[in-house]
């Protein structure tokens, strides 16, 4: 909401500048930003248009004589609304307008022009630039624009939180200022009029819960005309346009008191009756904005007893709307149930100045004050007369809540003692009734603060006015220790560190994907009921598609050797209930390009399933000391893939990303490798204790064994056999060379294994190792039809 500083001054003395005022409001809990602040401008003054004649050489231009208080200047002006007699803003030669626009003497179509008549946009007041800004004639020619207009147009934009319905008005904001600065709040003077008119209209409510109060009044003899300048200025400063005096009054009162009212054209009511009821099946109404609204059942309506004439608290109907020709009106000042209005506005997807206020809660006991304010203004500005008594239907008066505030609780929550006098003053200035006793205050909350229901709500009021910055900070740590690892996800740190150590960069990807991508993994993804777009309508089931897209993005931007990983949650749907929506933490990585780049030292080595297998082995086997088994698998997303088994538990997959995925994700990547595993099945093993094993000091004995075998024999299988046969003394066994040669024969290879032994208790001798070696040779020769090569 935009509040005008000038307007606020009607109700409270304000000494502060507009930016200081904004700061003060922010620190009171009304988040404020300066909306309009006119900086001092020299050579920009109030001017009077003495004459405006047609330009001799241009149809659309006018040649004007502008009086600046001392001198008259000849100015060429192209604005369509320029006219003789107007009071305008005149930028003289030498003025510098916002945007560093310097005014100089110019010649336009052969005629000299000395200065400019300004539009709102040229003065940085608004975006309005259709015509020049025309001011009230009361302004004196020659006065500085920034001095006289600045204060009138200075305004602040407030972001009102849902707990402050009262602050949705100038009065509410002024009240906070008055409380904070210890000034008096002056409410506008309102006269309730004893009407001698006898007109009435029957008013009935179907439900008193929906509409606890409804006030109506009929006025006649109205002349609709343009609003006076003060009213136009008020609305302008608050960011609204002036329409005519009648409409402006309703808008003005809404912004002033925060209580929405509605004005019906009385003559247009076909049936002279008001019935407030819920909508029935298949009802509709054309609203003021000329939209036809199909009403769902149960929408709260104002009807004329037959057809809807307004959607209660949200928007009036077009048919009964006031117009330039209106002479008699029905004024409505009501109080509707906040939840009913909110539900109604939601179901219609409408939000209006009126609905915003009703759904937060307006003051039921302010409806009559508001009514009289409207009646008084209509009387003053349009010549209208009240021809009915005030028709106030309010069967059950809503009273302010009684709340007890303990002095001890206030001190406990604040953490400091707040002076009793301050508390009592603050509360009573905020509109509370307060009775003090030794240990507590008995308070009655004002009905314009429906948010205040409990002791804590009052404590907040006191502390916010006291000023959060005035509460001393307590820098002590209190409380008790808690045993245990403070972070249950500490175990993840090692994975991040290792991946980063292996040259991988961590990414965070969007969890929301389109349906196709989210289901690529073969799992069922969870859809959003109200997605942002179809591209972000499902939760991801795998981290791989995101990583593939990252790799492609980087490749397209010139990085060819890519190593990326992500540690994040994925979701899968196993059913409709919350318990069947699975969330799991996954580590995935992708790599493409070179593992080692070509250099003066080394030849390039491509990334491959082996570079990834090496990383997995380092993490799972060397670092964690777990058993890693990779089993060939058929997994979506991979052309060649293996299951990752850790200590016998299937945790994920690794392999070469399938070419169809690379194609379907629209990438330029030729080949990429990835693994993905989850932690759920084995994370408890990661929290296990680590114990030291004694360092072995006896010398190691090693042998190289060279076998010739058929190409079809898998080296890994032979190695597993060697390890089994080697027994407990084995410390290491690995293939170190594979050699192919025509001498070996077709489809044959020679594989050299390095085998190393060590005893924890003695120096090994040949006689200890030789029998084992013999057994290995025997086993490999027999099992794999391999020949020992000497």
């Amino acid at each position: 909401m935009i509040v005008s500083q000038h307007w606020l001054k009607d109700y409270v003395d304000i000494d502060a500048t507009v930016s200081d005022l904004a700061d003060m409001l922010s620190l009171l809990g009304l988040e404020a930003e300066v909306h309009t602040e006119i900086q001092p401008m020299s050579h920009v003054v109030i001017g009077k248009v003495k004459s405006a004649e047609k330009h001799p050489n241009a149809d659309k231009l006018k040649l004007c004589q502008v009086f600046d208080g001392k001198k008259t200047h000849q100015v060429v002006c192209g604005a369509p609304n320029i006219d003789a007699g107007q009071t305008i803003v005149f930028a003289k030669e030498g003025a510098v307008l916002p945007g560093n626009f310097k005014l100089k003497k110019v010649t336009i179509r052969g005629v000299e022009s000395n200065g400019m008549i300004c539009s709102e946009r040229e003065l940085n007041l608004s975006d309005e630039h259709e015509g020049i800004l025309v001011l009230d004639d009361t302004f004196q020619a020659g006065d500085s624009f920034s001095d006289v207009i600045g204060p009138i147009r200075a305004s602040i934009e407030l972001d009102i939180t849902p707990n402050r319905p009262d602050a949705f008005s100038h009065i509410g904001v002024a009240r906070d200022i008055a409380v904070k600065t210890n000034k008096v709040l002056a409410l506008p003077k309102v006269l309730s009029i004893e009407s001698d008119g006898e007109k009435t209209i029957p008013i009935t409510m179907e439900s008193n819960d929906d509409c606890p109060r409804y006030i109506g009044g009929i006025m006649e003899g109205i002349t609709v005309s343009p609003s006076p300048q003060w009213l136009v200025d008020r609305l302008h400063a608050a960011g609204q346009r002036s329409i005519n005096n009648l409409v402006d009054i309703s808008n003005f009162v809404l912004l002033e008191l925060g209580h929405p009212t509605h004005i019906f054209d009385y003559d247009k009511l076909k049936n002279k009756e008001i019935l407030i009821r819920r909508s029935k099946k298949n009802e509709s109404i054309v609203t003021l904005d000329e939209e036809k609204r199909e009403l769902s059942e149960g929408q709260l309506l104002i009807t004329d007893g037959k057809i809807p004439i307004a959607i209660a608290g949200i928007m009036g109907g077009l048919e009964s709307a006031v117009s330039e020709k209106t002479t008699s009106v029905l004024i409505e000042s009501a109080y509707f149930n906040a939840v009913v209005i909110r539900k109604g506005a939601k179901s219609l997807s409408m939000q209006t100045e009126s609905s915003k206020r009703f759904e937060r809660g307006v003051d039921p006991n302010g409806a009559d004050f508001t009514f009289w304010r409207v009646v008084n203004l209509i009387q003053d500005l349009t010549g209208g007369k009240l021809v009915s008594p005030i028709m106030d239907i309010y069967p059950k008066v809503i009273k302010g809540k009684k709340i007890t505030l303990r002095k001890s609780e206030l001190s406990l929550i604040a953490g400091c003692k707040i002076d009793n006098k301050f508390v009592e003053n603050t509360l009573s200035n905020l509109g509370f009734k307060v009775q003090s006793s030794e240990n507590e205050w008995n308070c009655t909350a004002p009905t314009f603060r429906p948010d205040i229901e409990r002791e804590i709500d009052i404590i907040e009021e006191i502390i916010r006015v006291y000023g959060y910055d005035n509460i001393p900070s307590d820098n002590n740590i209190y409380g008790s220790y808690r045993i245990g690892n403070p972070d249950p996800e500490t175990y993840l740190k090692q994975f991040r560190k290792l991946m980063i150590g292996f040259g991988y960069r961590q990414v965070y990807n969007n969890s929301l994907q389109n349906e196709t991508i989210s289901q690529m993994s073969g799992k069922t993804s969870i859809p959003m009921m109200n997605p942002l777009s179809t591209e972000m309508a499902f939760l991801r089931t795998s981290l791989l598609p995101g990583l593939i897209q990252n790799a492609d993005f980087n490749q397209k931007n010139g990085t060819t050797d890519i190593r990326l990983f992500e540690l994040g949650n994925v979701h899968a749907k196993h059913g409709d209930s919350l318990g069947e929506l699975e969330e799991s933490l996954i580590l995935s990585c992708i790599t493409t390009g070179n593992y080692i780049s070509d250099s003066v030292h080394e030849k390039a080595l491509n990334q491959s399933v082996f570079t990834l297998k090496g990383i997995l082995s380092q993490i799972i086997e060397s670092h964690l000391g777990f058993r890693l088994v990779l089993k060939k698998s058929q997994t979506p997303g991979f052309d060649v893939s293996w299951e990752i088994n850790i200590n016998g538990k299937l945790v994920g997959y690794m392999g070469q990303i399938s070419s169809s995925w690379l194609k379907n994700l629209d990438t330029d990547i030729e080949s990429a490798f990835a693994f993905e595993f989850s932690f759920e099945a084995w994370k408890n093993m990661l929290k296990g204790k680590q114990t030291f094993k004694p360092i072995q000091t006896f010398p190691k004995v090693s042998r190289h064994l060279n076998f010739v075998m058929e190409e079809s024999i898998r080296v890994g299988n032979v190695l597993d056999g060697i390890k089994k046969k080697a027994g407990k003394l084995l410390t290491n066994a690995e293939p170190v060379d594979i050699f192919r040669d025509s001498e070996l024969g077709k489809d044959m290879k020679s594989v050299t294994f390095f085998i190393e032994f060590q005893s924890p208790s003695k120096t090994l001798e040949d006689k200890d190792v030789n029998p084992i070696i013999d057994e290995i040779i025997g086993f490999v020769s027999q099992q794999y039809d391999a020949k020992l090569r000497v």
Binding site: G479, P531, N557, D561
Partner: protein
Amino acid sequence: MSLKENIDSVRSDFLADIESFPNDAQDIENLRVKYLGRKGLVAGLFSSMGNLSAEERPQAGQLLNALKNDLSEQFQKKMDENNSGAQTQDPYFDATLPGIAPALGSMHPLERTLQEIKDIFISIGFHVEYGPEIDDDYHNFSALNFPEHHPARDMQDTFFVAPDTVLRTHTSNVQIHLMENEDPPIRHIVPGRVYRNEAISFKSYCLFHQVEGIYVDKNVSFGELKGVLEYFVRQMFGPKVKMRFRPSFFPFTEPSAEVDIWSTERNQWLEILGCGMVDPAVFDNVGYDSSIWHGYAFGMGVERIAMLKYKIDDIRHFYQGDVRFLRQFK
């Protein structure tokens, strides 16, 4: 010549020979063999001891051993010097060639910022708790004192998975789970991914990461909340940062506040976190007696903290996976 004279002669020849120590391995070996080999000059002198009398032998043995040790030592010293300089002595050795560099990884700036935030709170006694990203309306809203038909619900645009199931809009749902499962006192922070149904732009994304904290004990004051957050902000942004507490509204805290820090660069206050005293209604919902227990809670966006800390101007950078962005964070 006496043995002593022979010893001196061998030593001076040796010193002369090693003065210009050869580069070639074979020449070095030849030099070693000449003096220290099995048939070398020193060995020759040992064998000449046979000509000496029994009385002379012990002394001669001592002298010869000293010679042998001396020569071996000096030879070894030369060898070492020679070896250590082996590569630099190659006239064509080119040390200007680039090194053999291992690949360099990097931690995501959000991860790094989150670790920093965790470390700061753990240092003052907080534990860390985690919880689900998909939750029921009750844990994400109702239990946190968001009435069903209240404008407070508009404060967070929510993704619905089912009419009663949401992608959490904050990690406060975990505070509810935590309090349902544990008796007070508690002192925890809750990091995690949260979702908002907001149009994507340079300043907002459909998801972000949050760290929320909650402390519940018998006597907890707003003054303590101020103290703890001042500690956090100064640890995070430096001891001199100017900050302020500003009244605000969150359904689950009362009184509520926003914390702003002053940006000298932008010459304005920047909002960095929200906080407040836990609303008694929340305690009632989880079965804590609100007449006994008090508490404070706070919440911040990791993205926002990281953007301020590293002066990142567009939130979308975090989710792009762009190496040119990632490599800037170590």
